[in-house]
């Protein structure tokens, strides 16, 4: 089936450690297995927390991937394929799954919930932008790439909280 578990694990570790600089070559093969797994996990944790919102999750991820794909193609000197964008965004959804896992146990609408979701949004978008700029060789644009990713993950967080 072409699923390499060690590649998936390596990419997951890159996401989980946003401070470490990423290696540009890890995104050479587009692999959608991990992202699909994380999307389904997100839907499952949302379901367990009582919100049946699969449609919104999939619709939001599709539109968000399209917009970020268009933006990255315009901003970088070399283009990206849609699969690569979807793959990176899906991998960086992992902290969001952790957040919605926490939502199962206690409600996130208090101050602690808002603060932790802001932290998680920052974590997701920093690792996504880190992978993008190392894979696409864009310099001085990390915050510019992180901002639309933060908007997208913010929408996911809104789904999780409300």
């Amino acid at each position: 089936l072409g699923i390499h578990f060690d590649h998936i694990w390596q990419k997951t570790l890159t996401v989980l450690n946003p401070m470490k600089p990423a290696d540009g070559s890890i995104m050479n093969e587009t692999d959608l297995t991990g992202p699909i797994l994380f999307c389904v996990a997100l839907g499952a944790t949302l379901l367990l927390a009582g919100k049946v919102q699969f449609g919104y999750v999939y619709g939001l991820s599709a539109i968000g991937c399209l917009v970020i794909h268009a933006l990255l193609n315009l901003m970088s000197s070399s283009g990206v394929s849609y699969g690569c964008v979807a793959s990176v965004l899906g991998y960086c959804l992992l902290p969001m799954v952790i957040l919605s896992g926490c939502a199962m146990f206690f409600s996130l609408q208090g101050t602690f919930g808002i603060v932790s979701s802001l932290v998680i949004i920052g974590w997701c978008s920093l690792s996504a932008s880190k992978i993008f700029i190392s894979a696409l060789d864009m310099e001085g644009q990390q915050l510019l790439v992180a901002y639309p990713c933060a908007l997208l993950y913010g929408l996911f967080a809104l789904l999780t909280i409300f």
């Binding site: 315009l74 001085g140 990390q142 510019l144 639309p148």
Partner: protein
């Protein structure tokens, strides 16, 4: 070869089984899109012999498991045909998209970096101290936004527009008036106003017969800068109520007015402004009025599009 003749015939002959598609190539011709090898020619005899068991078992293929279907050379070729068709379709889409959306021209407007965005945002909120508003040129083409803070870009307007729609959704959510279709309504109404503005200004530029190097995309970029002020106003309104909203919106309105006047003056009143000659002739006066009208429309639209969000 007569035993294998039931697979492929010259065009025009009656079909044997109904499950085969009609071959279209002449015997011996190598057509890359041909679905079948023409086994009536001598070269493909070996291949044809290989295919005979698959062919004879075709009527029974529906009963055999899926593995036989995937191993069937016919479906391999069908997949190859399908993927070449997909590649052709993708080429067609890419070519046509390039006709409607000038991608290389757009890339110029997105060649930004973080320092430029920071300085431009500072300029949008505080344009009073900036002295030189002229865009630098490099051999007859304007320099990329990365290198000159005066150059227009599309990153800030695009991000500001999307953020405005989301902040509008947030504002409506805190007033319990939120629903996803309302968000879509906000987005489309803001987009409609932007299109209307661009068309109105293009029309008036045409009527006044001004020869400027102000392209449509430049105009969209300049008109998109007001969304930054709108976002600031709405956010302050959410945090501090109506007083905060009016204060910040007032400040941003004045800043955008000054910003637009100083930027458009260089573009529309190009000859007069470059030499610093005071405006006397009727044509130049008309251009000046046009610039003032465009700049004055910005604060009005900023108020119009945000006041219903802050209660």
């Amino acid at each position: 070869n007569q035993g294998l003749g039931m697979e492929v015939r010259a065009p025009g002959s009656a079909r044997g089984t109904s499950k085969r598609r009609i071959p279209v190539s002449q015997p011996g011709m190598a057509d890359p899109h041909q679905l079948f090898d023409d086994t009536s020619s001598a070269q493909s005899r070996g291949y044809g012999a290989q295919r005979a068991p698959g062919d004879l078992s075709y009527p029974a293929a529906s009963a055999t498991p899926q593995a036989a279907f995937l191993a069937d050379p016919v479906s391999n070729m069908a997949m190859a045909y399908g993927s070449s068709l997909a590649a052709q379709g993708k080429e067609l889409v890419d070519k046509n998209i390039d006709r409607f959306i000038p991608v290389t021209k757009l890339k110029y407007y997105f060649a930004v970096d973080t320092m430029y965005v920071g300085r431009k945002l500072g300029l949008l909120f505080f344009p009073y101290l900036h002295q030189d508003w002229e865009v630098q040129y490099q051999q007859d083409t304007p320099v990329a936004p990365r290198f000159d803070v005066n150059a227009p870009d599309l990153y800030i307007p695009a991000m500001a527009f999307i953020t405005y729609v989301l902040v509008a959704g947030l504002a409506l959510g805190t007033q319990d008036r939120f629903s996803p279709d309302l968000l879509g309504l906000q987005a489309s109404s803001a987009l409609a106003w932007l299109t209307l503005e661009v068309l109105a200004i293009l029309l008036s530029l045409y009527l006044v017969t001004v020869n400027t190097d102000l392209t449509t995309i430049d105009l969209v970029a300049f008109l998109g800068y007001k969304y930054v002020g709108m976002i600031g106003g709405v956010l302050m309104g959410l945090l501090f109520g109506k007083i905060g909203y009016y204060l910040v919106l007032g400040w941003c309105c004045v800043s955008i007015f000054v910003f637009m006047i100083r930027t458009l003056r260089l573009k529309i009143l190009a000859e007069a402004a470059a030499e610093g000659v005071p405006v006397r002739e009727a044509r130049n006066q008309l251009r000046m009025y046009l610039t003032m009208a465009v700049a004055a429309a910005q604060p009005l639209l900023m108020y119009w599009l945000t006041f219903h969000l802050v209660r």
